[in-house]
Amino acid sequence: MVDFAQDPQPFREQISAFIAENCPKELRDMPASERSVCWGGKRWVFSSPAQKSWLEAASSAGLTAARWPVAYGGAGLTRAQEKIFREEMARLKAPSPLESFGLWMLGPALLAFGTEEQKLHFLPQITRGEIRWCQGYSEPGAGSDLASVQTRAEDKGDHWLVNGSKIWTSYADHADWIFALVRTDREAPKHRGISFMLIDMESEGVSTKPIKLISGYSPFCETFFENVKVPKSYGENIPAQVGEVNRGWDVAKHLLTHERTMIGGGGSGSAGGILGGRSLGAFLGSLEEGVLDEPVIRSQAMELEVDTLAMGMTLERYKDMAKAGGVGNASAMLKYYGTELNKRRYELLMSVTGSEGVEWDGPHGTVAAEWLRTKANSIEGGTTEVMLDIISKRVLELPTK
């Protein structure tokens, strides 16, 4: 293993040499639009041997979770080092070796609330891309009002008996495990009877049914639990729940702040898809001549660029604030602003691509599907209205009555 945190060689040189050596050239040469994201998991089919070897090399150096401690499969990089790492990845056109809900959501929650043994057990499986996780929060009757989840887990001595159903579970049909909010105390006030439970999707009684989105894709599912037996423990000091039983709401909220910050990050304009790593300006410059002479489109593009640049600066500032002591509920602002901005960006991309953009698979690839997908940005992970509510009540402390 390469110890990036210790090696005295200037970090940038070292990391770029590592990427150049280990990320196969064919991956780096591939146009962004043809690359497939590596999600990992037991059932993952690599799109190429190159994708597999890049995942293995990056994860054995801890670089799939660059900031996590080395003991849990990360590289232990500082924020400054991680920034350099990202810059070098972009410069060398290296794709991310692994994306996953484990990295974005469960990992941070385990780091904050897990037992030492839970971290040692679950986190390296995530960083190596061995286990793919999905998020079992929403239910038919519990969306914005998430704390009213009804899926229940009954205490049966050595195991929990889980019954109920989840909805909108992204990639449940491809996931190996699920982190789910389940009710473990039906008498307690609604926030006080929830546990954050880790469940193997291969357990007897778990089933999924895909749901189709307006974009034509079916990335999410209904997930059913029918008399599912969940062992109370997966090993010594590795309980099935994260945090204490009945105190899962704290874990759920912590995870949501990470999820929201991540989704909000899409508003900095770095999103792949049609832009494929190019700036908006570079993309617009590549379009049919005259499109930008149209004054309304031009002014929308200018306003968007101003706001996108300012949002990028805001993400930087908030990362520093998070490191210096936390941003708390103010992260709702990143989610709100970033997602609304991303929706504006795609509305503009649709207007500038015009009649070509409305083709499912036209000269601009999947822009139409991407555009439709952005409409979910202001819903998933907490709606825009809920974000505004959080800001009003918790940040601005406006009265509730």
Binding site: L280, G281, M302, E303, E305, M313, E316, R317, L388, S392
Partner: protein, 373 residues
């Protein structure tokens, strides 16, 4: 680049500025200025000089505190919160930057507050230094300046004027412009105050064969934009900071009112229709604050490549202030429309600040150009 977050020194600077301005220049001082017909309080300016604020961009050897553009922005932002009026941006930010770029020996006067400068650039209703038509006609080693400058901030009260004149080329060209440093009392220069809605000093300056010599030139002949360009960007960044402070000040009043006013037996801040608009405003202010911090940082670290950062800041600050003051009046209902209430002062200064040194469209176009479209 250094962080966009305030560091420890900057937090101290902000807190001490806030404490001082709350006492020395609350919003009601602007009301007093207006009612007594003065643009600013000279006593307040002296206190600013004693604290080193007027020398914020002046090198230490010329008596300045040389704290840099980010610090100037922090001060301007706090001035915006209470609408503190003074020639800070004209003199301590723009003139200091221009004269520093030209290594002028007049910097020490700016630092100690004894010299107050105005910057005379625009001639029409919209900002655009390259549009300058005011002629500086050459006769031997001397020049005779004739023409009109409009919307000169602090132009009625300043003792000296930096005036941009055309010495070659035609209006519309950035080359052929020369910057002169003149005494405001020089023969042939007449100044007429314009009554602007923000109750501050904006004047029209008429030049009728005003004489100048080569010694009055700041920077190089025909290349005045080389020093003025950075000075304008510094002013734009500081003005953006002021507008952001103004937004924060107006927003604080509105948020306070939402927590106290009752209608239909409820605190109006409990109505979601108002809550979400308040949350939106706060989000806009947060995003703009980052752009302000960034502009100051970039000016300090790579001043020659600061146009994009500054224009993002000015564009954002202009729009944000406009939103916050409009919503501020609206959410206060009838009282928001009264002169007795302060919100109107915020609205009026926001409008003047939106125009001064380039409006939203001017700066958004700069951003588009810098970003390749």
């Amino acid at each position: 680049m250094t962080s966009l977050m305030l560091n420890e020194d900057e937090t101290m600077l902000r807190d001490s500025a806030r404490g001082f301005l709350d006492d020395a220049a609350p919003v009601k001082m602007l009301r007093t200025n207006r009612d007594s017909g003065r643009a600013y309080d000279p006593g307040f300016w002296k206190e600013m000089a004693q604290m080193g604020w007027t020398g914020v961009l002046v090198p230490e050897e010329a008596g300045g505190s040389d704290m840099g553009h980010r610090a100037a922005g922090i001060l301007a932002e706090e001035m915006g919160v209470t609408l503190a009026a003074s020639p800070f941006i004209s003199s301590a930010v723009m003139a200091a930057t221009a004269l520093r770029g030209a290594a002028s020996d007049r910097l020490s006067g700016i630092a100690d507050g004894s010299a107050i400068y105005a910057i005379a650039v625009d001639e029409g209703t919209k900002h655009g230094p390259e549009k300058t038509a005011l002629q500086a006609e050459r006769s031997g080693n001397a020049f005779r300046l004739s023409g009109r400058k409009t919307f000169v901030a602090d132009g009625g009260s300043a003792g000296r004027v930096l005036v941009l004149a055309r010495t070659a080329g035609a209006p519309g060209e950035a080359a052929g412009l020369t910057l002169f440093d003149l005494d405001a009392d020089r023969a042939g220069l007449s100044r007429s105050a314009r009554k602007t809605v923000d109750s501050r000093d904006h004047a029209q300056l008429d030049f009728d064969g005003v004489e100048a010599t080569g010694d009055d030139i700041v920077g190089e002949l025909d290349n005045g934009m080389a020093v003025l360009g950075l000075a304008l960007r510094a002013g734009q960044a500081a003005l953006s900071a002021e507008l952001t402070g103004l937004s924060a000040g107006a927003f604080a009043m509105t948020a306070g009112y939402l927590k106290e006013r009752k209608q239909f037996d409820r605190i109006i801040g409990s109505f979601q229709a108002l809550q979400h608009r308040a949350a939106h405003m706060w989000s806009e202010i947060e995003v703009t604050a980052s752009a302000i911090a960034n502009a100051g940082r970039v000016l300090d670290e790579s001043p020659d490549e600061s146009q994009l950062a500054v224009s993002v800041a000015k564009a954002r600050a202009t729009q944000t202030a406009k939103l916050v003051v409009s919503e501020g009046v609206q959410m206060h209902g009838g009282i928001g429309m009264t002169d007795e209430f302060d919100m109107g002062f915020f609205m009026k200064r926001a409008r003047v600040g939106a125009e001064w040194l380039g409006d939203y469209g001017y700066h958004a176009a700069k951003v588009a150009a810098a970003r390749g479209f």
